[in-house]
């Protein structure tokens, strides 16, 4: 790199030093907690993953999380390695150029056993709201719907071009039907039939039950454990 004049040189120097400082400091807490040698082993895994195109921030966060939770260095190293492998698998599905959120949600979905082919299709059809689609699948699973049914419902809804908010209404509608006494599979089947009939899936009103992203203050305070 060549800069003309003292100002250019100074700016370039600031940029380089700043970048190096930022990279060195992101694991400062891990170094403080574990010492230089253990931190270096963890950083080696992170550096290698970064060279493979994986988002460094997610792996650093996992290491920092482990340090904060006072985990043993070996445990943190294993957790970072496992996350790196999961992100590599996710990158094979949605591409290495996917952002951290997309990669992380893909990894989550794969962990739940979601079909990689479905994930690739969802990403192709609606890349912008891909993370929302995964959240919808997770919410369906959380509502008790089997993986196969959740996959089928999400695929169907995506092919019909449902918007992100409508996708999030699907698990909310399933939960509402479950509260009315149906089994999760019956509820999902009913929602899917409505979808195929061209009816709009309307989420329940906020006061009736939890939406996908509820206001936390609306929740009941848990009883003493």
């Amino acid at each position: 790199m060549r800069a003309r004049g003292p100002l250019g040189g100074a700016i370039v120097s600031v940029v380089l030093v700043g970048a190096l400082w930022a990279q060195a400091s992101d694991l400062a807490r891990v170094r403080t907690e574990f010492g230089e040698a253990e931190a270096a082993r963890i950083e080696a895994v992170i550096d290698a993953s970064e060279r493979d195109g994986l988002p460094r921030a997610l792996l650093v966060d996992k290491a920092v999380e482990g340090a904060a939770k006072r985990m043993e260095p070996g445990v943190v190293l294993a957790a970072v390695r496992m996350l790196a492998e999961e992100l590599r698998a996710a990158a094979r599905v949605v591409g290495r150029d996917a952002g951290p959120t997309k990669l992380e949600k893909t990894a989550d979905a794969l962990r739940h056993g979601v079909d990689p082919g479905l994930l690739a299709e969802l990403n192709e059809r609606n890349p912008r709201d891909f993370a929302v689609l995964i959240v919808a699948i997770e919410d369906l699973l959380h509502a008790g719907v089997t993986l196969a049914v959740a996959e089928d419902l999400t695929r169907d809804a995506t092919r019909r071009g449902l918007a992100a908010d409508e996708m999030l209404a699907l698990p909310a509608a399933v939960r509402r039907l479950v509260r009315e006494g149906r089994t999760p599979q019956q509820a999902a089947s009913s929602v899917q039939q409505s979808l195929r009939a061209g009816q709009r899936v309307v989420p329940p009103p906020p006061a009736e039950g939890p939406s996908s992203f509820p206001t936390r203050s609306a929740r009941r305070i848990p009883p003493p454990s």
């Binding site: 060549r2 800069a3 003309r4 004049g5 100002l7 250019g8 700016i11 370039v12 600031v14 940029v15 700043g18 930022a22 400091s25 992101d26 966060d61 996992k62 920092v64 999380e65 482990g66 340090a67 904060a68 939770k69 006072r70 985990m71 943190v76 957790a79 496992m82 996917a98 952002g99 951290p100 959120t101 997309k102 949600k105 989550d108 890349p127 912008r128 709201d129 891909f130 993370a131 929302v132 959240v135 919410d139 959380h142 918007a163 992100a164 908010d165 996708m167 999030l168 939890p210 996908s212 992203f213 206001t215 936390r216 203050s217 929740r219 009941r220 305070i221 848990p222 009883p223 003493p224």
Partner: protein, 213 residues
């Protein structure tokens, strides 16, 4: 003179575009201009032009006026592409480098949209035996420093945190050492350390569904 009225008199906007309180004044100006026109005045009074030009010159001679004019008028700045790029990169590096002064202590409504980028999330935990409760998550590098409060001593700890759009993971930390999962979170994720993080999703704006990076 009121700027809207001025624009009307300049013919830039219609009378109907003025607020009612200005319309009467505009009509008075119209009447005045009409009277002048009807009086058959052939031109400006003798000496008016020279007085106006003199006033303009006197005004432009004031130093503060030149400074103000320099700041208010557009200027062309020539920058070498390399230096411009480096300056932009320096600014980006400065903005992207994590700093410790992240705002985390809002006040006001329980959950309020701030612009279209962030919301204040209220965290609540019942922990009657705790002497302190904090929340830590990927939004604050897992540092248990965002303290929840139990001002009335009823064992219900709460506090608000400003979160940007995206999916966030967190846990509560009791007495600075005991990490526990929010028992009433909407969804959870394995943390890789044998526990579960609570997960909260913040959509961008008021209900926009996208969580895209």
């Amino acid at each position: 003179m009121n700027e809207q009225l001025n624009r009307y008199l300049d013919g830039e906007i219609e009378l109907g575009a003025l607020p009612p309180e200005l319309r009467r004044e505009a009509e008075a100006w119209d009447a005045f201009v009409g009277d002048v026109r009807d009086s058959g005045a052939a031109g400006a009074p003798v000496g008016l032009e020279s007085r106006i030009v003199g006033a303009i010159r006197a005004e432009t001679k004031a130093p503060w006026s030149r400074v103000a004019k320099w700041w208010l008028n557009p200027h062309s700045i020539r920058v070498r592409p390399l230096i411009g790029l480096a300056a932009a990169a320096a600014l980006a590096a400065f903005l992207l480098v994590p700093r410790d002064d992240v705002t985390t202590e809002p006040s006001g409504a329980t959950t309020a949209v701030v612009g279209e980028e962030a919301v204040y999330v209220q965290f609540v935990l019942r922990a009657p035996d705790a002497t302190s409760v904090a929340v830590a998550g990927d939004f604050n590098e897992w540092v248990p420093e965002i303290a929840l409060n139990d001002l009335d001593g009823d064992g219900i700890w709460s506090g608000r945190v400003r979160l940007g759009p995206g999916v966030h993971k967190y846990m509560f930390v009791i007495d600075g050492t005991r990490w526990i999962t929010d028992p009433y979170a909407e969804r959870y994720a394995e943390d890789g350390y044998g526990n579960r993080n609570a997960v909260i999703a913040i959509t961008g704006g008021a209900g926009a569904g996208s969580l895209a990076p």
